[in-house]
């Protein structure tokens, strides 16, 4: 394939522009190697937009280079677009070279996400002859921290947290050697020049460093104590997962009595001794993103208080070399939960962590590589054979691959809880990692910091901001403050639009948006919605029969209140006399009497069509959960009672057509009567749960048949219920429908920002952005 000088007239020179995730992933050395092997001359460089190449040679050989760029790139690279143009042959290329980064123009390159150590790095980590043997910060261009330590673009060492570490001679040589795996590996380091481990107490006194620090941490965990560990995107709290007492201590110190805790195993083999994992789950667990995967367990030898009354357990494999070493030395699995106090975002700074976690952790395993952008662990599961993200953060953020372009210049501020933030840039949509709840000062600070830093990083200052319609969401106020124009997107429309966006749907669909609650267009609380959506707008086709929530927001924490409101909807004041029912007897007579008066008078008793609250009510009626200590607890405990083999008669939901041309109403009346009858005859809770789930699935299919739309989109937090989601998918497919559900972005409010952005800019539209409502001036 080599071209001799004699064939000079055959030579052409091309400018090749590559777009996608092509920086910080070893793309330039890859280009260098391919081009050199093909005998081409020219250069490659990073540009603000991606990677630029000029290559000279035989046109056929140039074609071959293009094909290799497309199909044989590095593992973490993702090529979205390659453009070529012939250029004049000014000057002479002697060889093929890698040129230094350009810093002109607007950065629009896609950032690589943070990945777990690659197989080669792992092999070196465990190789006693390697100079990075047991070095907890080993990485290369294929793996390691990226988004979490980038301060600015273009992605160069000088604009990452690694600028604090001067490379030693050997690291520098690798960094400059196009033949090395660490050529321009921006986070590369070694024991001589890189970050170091330290073990300290909460007062900050350092007891040990490097290997000795790791040994101290092992000792803490082996003694059943709690370790705070600085992971890739923030602190985690670890404790021996076999020791129920230690787990209990962690629960008490974290004020987290029931919420499931995830477990990290040292290896797939260790994990499989405890969990039945499918091959899809294994793939998800071992993938470079290393999410927590919710899976069915056998629970051999683990503490019994990891996930009380739940069927699934969150499990994961080591996500950094540090975890790899720690778990290896321990030889037993550990609980790994976010290093935060209840309701607050994850701690990621050494000082801050000692202050906030000081009375939770018995020791701190820290290091001196700063975390620039905090990241929680991602949470995923396999649904109907496909990965589904429940929390999108480490390993995935900030890129989102959407199958269509979105108008640039927009932002969306998301919801009030599980908030994420979305921006549309020239090179696509950026979705922030999970930022947590906006009820704490730290949560709000984190939101504001992320707004600033993402805008700076992607050099975009959107003037248009989409937000929820709820007037009291923190993020609604922020959208008003940030933009010159706003677009309020109804909560459930955003849930469905998010799913349409990730699947690239723009045809008319039936959206089934079921969740806890969101602000409805009639200023009541919606949450059991059937919406038809197309490119022009949406219509509320049907909704769940509303009932009152005595105590408003207090009902979100006390499922017994939903049950009382539901019973009140069925039998009025008589509900208070149903003392054999657990949620009724859970209140004193006097409390009940006051609540019924509040219901009569409509004092803080908003109407809701929420399916989430319907789940709460049924869980409370079935005696499972009267007060919840974490969000979604009652529904999850009810789900855990589903007997997948059981075949009780599904409960009936009536579908009543409206008097006028308003929406249809799905009436839970017959279903609740059946629950009460089953309770009265002492039916097992698993029958009640199974029949309830089956009834809900049936009514979705019935509404779908009425709506006469062939594509059904499922969204909203209720579809985190794996049993509900999977049986709905099966039933709808069986009835001939095409079904779409949230995969890349969470079904819960973590998906709202994307939905708001997509709806506000209108799916698949280019050019002038449009809005569902007239713009409102700030």
């Amino acid at each position: 394939m080599t071209q001799g000088n004699a064939a000079e007239p055959l030579l052409t020179r091309w400018r090749i522009s590559v777009r996608g995730v092509v920086q910080g992933v070893g793309f330039r050395p890859f280009v260098y190697r391919q081009a050199t092997a093909l005998g081409l001359s020219g250069w490659v460089e990073n540009s603000p937009e991606g990677v630029e190449i000029e290559a000279e040679g035989d046109p056929l050989v140039l074609e071959r280079l293009i094909s290799e760029l497309k199909h044989q790139g590095p593992v973490s690279a993702r090529v979205d677009d390659i453009r070529t143009a012939p250029v004049d042959r000014n000057g002479v290329f002697r060889a093929f070279t890698i040129r230094e980064s350009q810093t002109r123009g607007e950065p629009s390159v896609k950032l690589p996400a943070d990945w777990a150590p690659c197989p080669q790095c792992l092999q070196e980590l465990h190789d006693p002859d390697n100079r990075r043997y047991r070095y907890p910060f080993i990485n290369c261009t294929d793996c390691g921290p990226r988004y979490s330590l980038i301060e600015a673009l273009p992605y160069d060492r000088a604009s990452t947290a690694m600028r604090h570490f001067q490379m030693c001679g050997r690291c520098l040589a690798e960094y400059q050697d196009p033949g090395s795996r660490r050529f321009h590996a921006e986070a590369t380091a070694c024991p001589d020049c890189g970050p170091r481990l330290a073990f300290c107490r909460s007062d900050g006194s350092i007891l040990a460093q490097d290997g000795a620090a790791l040994a101290e941490a092992v000792e803490v965990l082996a003694a059943g104590k709690i370790l705070a560990l600085k992971g890739l995107g923030g602190f985690q709290l670890l404790v021996d997962a076999r020791n129920a007492q230690s787990v209990q201590a962690l629960r008490e110190r974290k004020h987290r009595p029931d919420k499931p805790l995830a477990v990290m195993f040292g290896s797939m083999a260790a994990l499989q001794r405890v969990c039945r994992v499918s091959s899809e789950e294994r793939q998800l667990l071992a993938g470079p993103e290393r999410p927590i995967v919710l899976s069915h367990t056998r629970n051999h030898g683990l503490a019994d208080n990891l996930a009380p009354r739940r069927e699934e357990l969150g499990v994961m494999l080591p996500s950094t070399p540090l975890h790899e070493l720690l778990l290896g030395d321990l030889g037993f699995p550990v609980v790994a939960t976010s290093g935060n106090r209840n309701g607050e975002p994850i701690a990621y700074d050494n000082e801050d962590a000692r202050a906030r976690l000081g009375d939770i952790a018995d020791g701190f395993l820290i290091h001196d590589r700063p975390i620039v952008r905090p990241l929680d662990d991602s949470v995923a599961r396999v649904t109907a054979g496909h990965p589904q993200l429940l929390r999108r953060a480490r390993g995935y953020s900030p890129n989102l691959a959407l199958p269509f372009p979105v108008s640039p210049g927009w932002g969306a501020t998301g919801g009030h809880l599980k908030t994420t933030l979305a921006l549309s840039t020239d090179s696509g949509v950026v979705l922030s990692p999970h930022l947590g709840d906006m009820d704490s000062a730290l949560g709000r600070d984190g939101f504001d910091r992320t707004v600033d830093s993402l805008q700076t990083l992607f050099a975009t200052r959107p003037q248009y901001w989409a937000h929820d319609r709820h007037p009291d969401y923190f993020t609604t106020g922020r959208a008003v403050a940030l933009g010159s124009k706003q677009c309020a997107v109804q909560h459930h429309v955003a849930h469905i639009a998010a799913v349409m966006a990730e699947h690239g749907l723009h045809e008319p669909v039936l959206g089934v948006a079921w969740d806890g609650s969101g602000f409805g267009d009639d200023s009541t609380l919606w949450g059991g919605e059937f919406l038809s959506l197309d490119a022009r707008g949406y219509q509320r086709l049907a909704h769940m029969r509303p009932f009152r929530l005595p105590g408003g927001e207090a009902a979100m924490r006390e499922p017994r209140r939903s049950a009382l409101g539901l019973l009140y909807g069925v039998m009025g004041e008589g509900a208070m006399e149903q003392e054999t029912l657990p949620p009724v007897s859970d209140f004193t007579r006097a409390e009940r009497w006051l609540l019924v008066q509040a219901l009569n008078a409509g004092i803080n008793a908003p109407e809701t069509s929420s399916v989430g609250r319907l789940f709460d009510a049924v869980a409370a009626l079935a005696g499972l959960c009267q007060k919840a200590s974490y969000e979604g607890q009652a529904a999850a405990e009810l789900e855990a009672m589903v007997d997948r083999e059981g075949k009780p008669e599904p409960y009936r939901f009536d579908l009543s057509s409206p008097d006028t041309d308003g929406p249809w109403r799905v009436d839970w009346g017959p279903a609740i009567e059946a629950v009460l009858a089953d309770m009265a005859r002492g039916a097992p809770v698993s029958d009640i749960s199974t029949a309830f789930h089956a009834g809900l699935v049936n009514v979705i299919v019935r509404v779908a048949e009425q709506a006469k739309l062939s594509r059904i989109v499922l969204g909203g937090g209720c579809f985190q219920n794996a049993s509900l989601l999977e049986s709905t998918i099966t039933a709808l497919r069986g009835a001939g429908f095409q079904v779409f559900w949230p995969c890349q972005v969470p079904a819960n409010d973590g998906g709202l920002a994307l939905g708001q952005l997509a709806w506000a800019t209108r799916l698949n539209q280019k050019g002038e952005a449009t809005c569902a409502w007239p713009y409102r001036d700030a």
Binding site: N342, G343, A441, G516, Q597, G717
Partner: protein
């Protein structure tokens, strides 16, 4: 009540009810308005009272119409002096009811040392005005030597609360909805002028006052913080809430910090004056349970955090009034 078009019946009503009740030389002059001799700066405010029901445990619309406006004048650092009173009556309102309201106003005015020197009365058709609406306006002599307003608040200033919160809102709600509460909860409706003037007269460095009516303590603190461009932190455990009030609030899902008061205020004072200010406040019955509840700090403007007993903190937001849960 049929005293419609301003004829003889109306004159009778003024002679027999209002003038004797409010009893002062300005009204006796029977002129179109009152001529007042007021040197120096004056504070001037107005408010309308449409509370339902007209009478509720601990107070009524008449006393509220006096205290509410008197308190607003006091919040400007002024001594309340003269009020006007405008009445809109629904045809058919029992005379006895009106008499009771007017007497309550007179009592409140006397207790506070303000004169109701001018007024107006209109009767509207049956089915309008819910029985009775009152508007009062008032003026007072400014006694503070420097401006008393949110813009004066500085980081480090302390937040004093004049007493327990939440009673008025619960009392009115219980009366309106005929809630059968286990213990009677009475409105805190009262004039807060005396302790306010005492603070000023005794040279306390007061930056700002705010009475805690609609929107409660939460709105009061958030608004001051917003205008001052500061954040504030309050200690939840130090905020007095009577046990029966907090029990009702908890059951009904209401936050006492958002419930209305009619005789409560916050005073923002310089840190070095806290102890003296508290001592002065406690000398007055209406503020005998005054406490320090927190302070203003540098930070996101308008952000108020409440430190809870168990060490956590929550954000206290001013809400839109939609009162719809934010949890999905």
């Amino acid at each position: 009540m049929a005293h419609g078009g301003g004829g003889r019946a109306m004159a009778q009503l003024l002679d027999s009810l209002f003038r004797p009740a409010f009893d002062n030389p300005w009204l006796e002059r029977q002129h179109d308005g009152a001529v007042l001799d007021m040197p120096g700066s004056i504070a001037f405010t107005t408010d309308s009272y449409v509370v339902r029901p007209l009478f509720f445990p601990g107070s009524d619309i008449g006393a509220m119409a006096v205290h509410g406006t008197v308190n607003d004048i006091a919040m400007c650092g002024a001594e309340p002096q003269y009020l006007s009173a405008g009445f809109i009556l629904e045809e058919g309102l029992p005379l006895a009811t009106l008499r009771q309201v007017v007497e309550s106003m007179a009592t409140a005015a006397r207790a506070t040392g303000v004169r109701i020197v001018t007024g107006d009365l209109k009767v509207v058709e049956r089915g309008k005005a819910d029985g009775l609406y009152i508007n009062t306006a008032g003026v007072g002599r400014v006694v503070a030597a420097h401006p008393i307003e949110p813009g004066q608040v500085q980081a480090g200033d302390r937040l004093l609360l004049s007493g327990d919160i939440g009673r008025h809102g619960i009392a009115v709600m219980a009366a309106r909805e005929k809630l059968d509460l286990e213990s009677a909860i009475e409105s805190d409706c009262a004039s807060i002028a005396a302790p306010v003037l005492a603070l000023l007269n005794e040279g306390i460095s007061v930056r700002c006052f705010r009475d805690l009516t609609r929107g409660g303590l939460a709105s009061g603190v958030v608004e001051v913080a917003e205008t001052a461009g500061l954040a504030a932190e309050v200690r939840e455990a130090d905020i007095p809430v009577r046990e029966d009030v907090s029990a009702v609030c908890e059951l009904l899902g209401l936050d006492p910090l958002h419930v209305a008061n009619e005789g409560r205020f916050i005073a923002v004072v310089a840190p070095e004056d806290v102890d003296r200010a508290i001592a002065i406040l406690r000398r007055h019955g209406v503020s005998e349970a005054a406490v320090e509840i927190g302070q203003f700090i540098e930070g996101s403007a308008g952000r108020v955090t409440a430190q809870s007993l168990i060490g956590g903190s929550r954000i206290v937001d001013r809400l839109s009034g939609e009162q719809l849960p934010r949890i999905c």
